[in-house]
């Protein structure tokens, strides 16, 4: 449970709401997918994990 129950104990009778416990909500990005990003995604999908292979290749050469 992540509610902060104590805030309710401070609720004064004449108040119309509990005491505020402010925290901002950050606007999320809804930027569209760009053709460049799509192309990159496609390349990554077509190439079987090239970055993960790099250390293995280096290790093999060193060995």
């Amino acid at each position: 449970m992540d509610s902060q129950s104590r805030a309710f104990e401070a609720d004064a009778a004449p108040l119309n709401t509990p005491l505020p416990c402010p925290r901002r909500m950050v606007p999320q990005s809804l930027a569209p997918v760009t053709p460049g990003r799509l192309l990159l995604k496609l390349l990554l999908a077509l190439t079987p994990a090239p970055l993960e292979r790099v250390p293995a290749v280096i290790k093999r050469r060193r060995g």
Partner: protein, 651 residues
């Protein structure tokens, strides 16, 4: 999730296969004499629209399959016995009937109290009301309910001085101020109701399933008495279960949010659902109007699960009372959904979320596409050469139009199956359940109601198509809509008002009929079902708005829904309280000036609200009031006066 993917692939295959079959037949028709650009346009539009209606058809077929095989549509861990969670029930209001709002709170609260070991619920009336009479009436009703139920009832009231970002901003304002005090929030609309049992069940499910951020409880349409509303209520009750089962069966944890009658995990919402302003000006830029689909997409993007609970029950809302009100509401929804064109390609969204957004867009864009298809088809018909004479020789040849008619007849029959098949399937599923059949008035009543609904929806379809087409065109041209309160009470619409609003529909219908009859008399019969709705637009809207006809239908057991036959305590109680409610004053805002106790209450509730931005305007309003009395104040003057705490204190 592993079991949902094959369902989705099968669904996609069936929609595509149906579309390919339909389009292939259409291509066969056109290929007899080659494909012109007009025929190419018809084919393109036909393919899109055939796929659109096929997607609804197969959705309901999947729903029927899920119902008949008793698939678990909400595969979550069962709720715990007790819950220590704190839940806020939010009622965002905007110039609503205060009697209805507070009656709903009382009814829900009483329903919660009837449940043993119910979780804690606090109620928040989150007012964005701009009408000064509504604003002060809300304050007085809040004080009344607080006095009667005491502070232990935890019913809170907050009026927002500036309506930033409309309803989404209203909820965000709650979250930013009090969200951290709660585990969950249940969002209600001004005409929604939920039972204590359902609310408790939802809280329990959220407790047991910590990956779940939102559970949507599909609301049943109830509580209105006009003929139009009763038909909508019946359609929702009879056809809705298969539709929602189909959705739940296919979407799994990739569910959607319908803006109300849903429980939301507050910290997930606060972390991921801050809505940005879209670049550009309205109608496509600016504040996001239809926020619910976007919030669901953002929660899914962050990895949270969203479920629909099609069988949870105890979740209600009221339909618009008339076709005119329905279309007025659709203007706003149309703009909100078209605005999603700017969201549907946002980075990182899950594919099902993009599909939810796209289907919302398509539900409005399909109207102008249908209209365009009809217009291009008529133009194509006009260009047909006269049927060649049948040679009486050794080689008999049929006229080309006969072949067209036969092929097109098959296609039209297929479309009729796709459009009416889901209704038929839903009626069969309903009739299979004796309890549900009795709740809808018995076998005869179900069949007659379904026939009546089919006829009415056929007549209504061209009116809605024209209206939606107009909305889409005006929105694309850059005309934004305002934020108007909805009319929610039954009333018979006056003929002159309806005639003014729907004369264009009727005139378009008559003009189209004359043209078709003159130029393509042979094919005129094909268009009669479409044209009839337009010819009769005015009487359809007037008669269907009638509460008297609604009552007569009810006396004949037509369009009955379970909440009427079995009764629903929470709905009945809310209606009884609203019916008994009496407004405290015709002009409650005057009481702030005339009654010190009301002024004190208003000042208490105003505490901390920002003062009006322009002191000169405030001074002008006060001057007008002093010289010519309260009767001379406009609504905006009243808002300034009521927002000026310092000025009110000097009275």
């Amino acid at each position: 999730m592993a079991e949902i993917l094959p369902r989705r692939w099968l669904y996609l295959f069936l929609v595509l296969a149906s579309t390919v079959a339909g389009v292939t037949r259409m291509v066969g028709v056109f290929q007899m004499d080659g494909i012109t650009w007009r025929e190419g346009t018809i084919l393109g539009l036909f393919a899109i629209l055939f796929a659109w209606i096929a997607s609804s058809f197969w959705l309901v077929v999947f729903g029927a399959f899920a119902r008949w095989t008793k698939v678990d549509l909400l595969p979550l861990k069962p709720p715990a016995e007790t819950s220590a969670a704190r839940t806020a029930i939010l009622l965002p209001v905007y110039n609503e009937d205060v009697g209805r709002v507070f009656s709903a709170i009382r009814a829900i609260r009483e329903s919660v109290a009837r449940e043993p070991a119910s979780p804690d619920f606090d109620f928040y009336v989150l007012s964005d009301s701009t009408n000064p009479a509504s604003w002060v009436a809300e304050e007085l009703e809040w004080q009344k309910i607080k006095r009667e139920l005491g502070d232990a009832a935890h019913i809170y009231y907050r009026h927002r001085a500036r309506n930033i970002a409309r309803k989404a901003g209203n909820i965000q304002d709650f979250c930013e101020n009090w969200g951290q005090l709660y585990d969950y929030m249940v969002i209600l609309d001004a005409d929604s109701l939920m039972t204590g049992k359902t609310l408790g069940h939802l809280v329990g499910l959220m407790d047991s399933n910590p990956r779940t951020a939102l559970i949507q409880a599909p609301p049943q349409l109830v509580g209105r008495h006009s003929l139009f509303a009763r038909i909508q209520q019946f359609a929702s009750s009879a056809y809705g279960p298969l539709f929602s089962a189909g959705l739940a069966f296919l979407q799994g944890p990739d569910g959607n949010y319908w803006g109300h009658n849903a429980i939301i995990r507050v910290h997930a919402f606060m972390q991921h659902c801050g809505l940005p302003k879209l670049p550009g000006k309205p109608p496509f830029g600016g504040e996001i109007m239809s926020h619910d689909f976007v919030e669901a997409a953002l929660l899914r993007r962050a990895g949270w699960d969203i479920w629909m609970a099609p069988d949870i029950g105890g979740s209600f809302e009221e339909p618009p009372p008339t076709l005119m009100d329905y279309l007025i509401r659709d203007r706003r929804w149309c703009q909100g959904n078209l605005q999603h064109l700017r969201v549907v390609f946002a980075r990182g969204l899950a594919l099902p979320s993009r599909l939810h957004l796209a289907m919302g867009i398509m539900s409005y864009v399909s109207s102008p596409l249908w209209l365009l298809l009809l217009v291009v088809s008529v133009v194509e018909m006009l260009s047909f050469p006269a049927p060649p004479a049948i040679p009486y020789g050794l080689v008999p040849v049929l006229p080309l139009t006969v072949s067209y008619a036969a092929q097109l007849g098959i296609l039209v029959a297929a479309m009729v199956v796709l459009l009416y098949g889901p209704k038929l399937l839903a009626v069969i599923a309903l009739l299979e359940d004796p309890d549900a059949t009795r709740a809808h008035g018995g076998i005869g009543a179900v069949v007659m109601s379904a026939l009546g609904e089919a006829i009415f929806s056929t007549l209504m379809a061209p009116i809605v198509m024209l209206q939606h087409s107009w909305y889409v065109v005006t929105i694309i041209l850059g005309m934004a809509t305002g934020w108007n309160a909805q009319t929610r009470s039954d009333r018979a619409l006056p003929l002159d008002l309806v005639a003014r609003k729907f004369a264009p529909h009727m005139l378009i219908g008559v003009a189209a009929s004359v043209l078709l009859y003159l130029y393509v008399p042979v094919d005129f019969g094909w268009f009669v079902p479409l044209l009839a709705g337009l010819w009769l637009a005015i009487p359809i809207v007037v008669l269907s708005s009638s509460p008297l006809l609604g009552r007569l239908a009810r006396e004949d057991d037509l369009f009955l829904v379970p909440s009427e036959t079995w009764g629903s305590k929470v709905v009945a109680r809310a209606h009884a309280l609203a019916a008994a409610h009496q407004d405290l004053s015709a002009e409650p805002q005057r009481l702030v000036l005339e009654d010190p106790a009301v002024r004190e209450l208003h000042l208490t509730l105003l505490n901390g609200a920002p003062a009006p931005a322009d002191p000169l305007q405030v001074w002008s309003a006060w001057e007008r009031m002093r010289r010519r009395g309260p009767a001379a104040l406009s609504a905006s003057d009243w808002t300034l006066v009521l927002s000026d705490a310092e000025g009110l204190k000097t009275l």
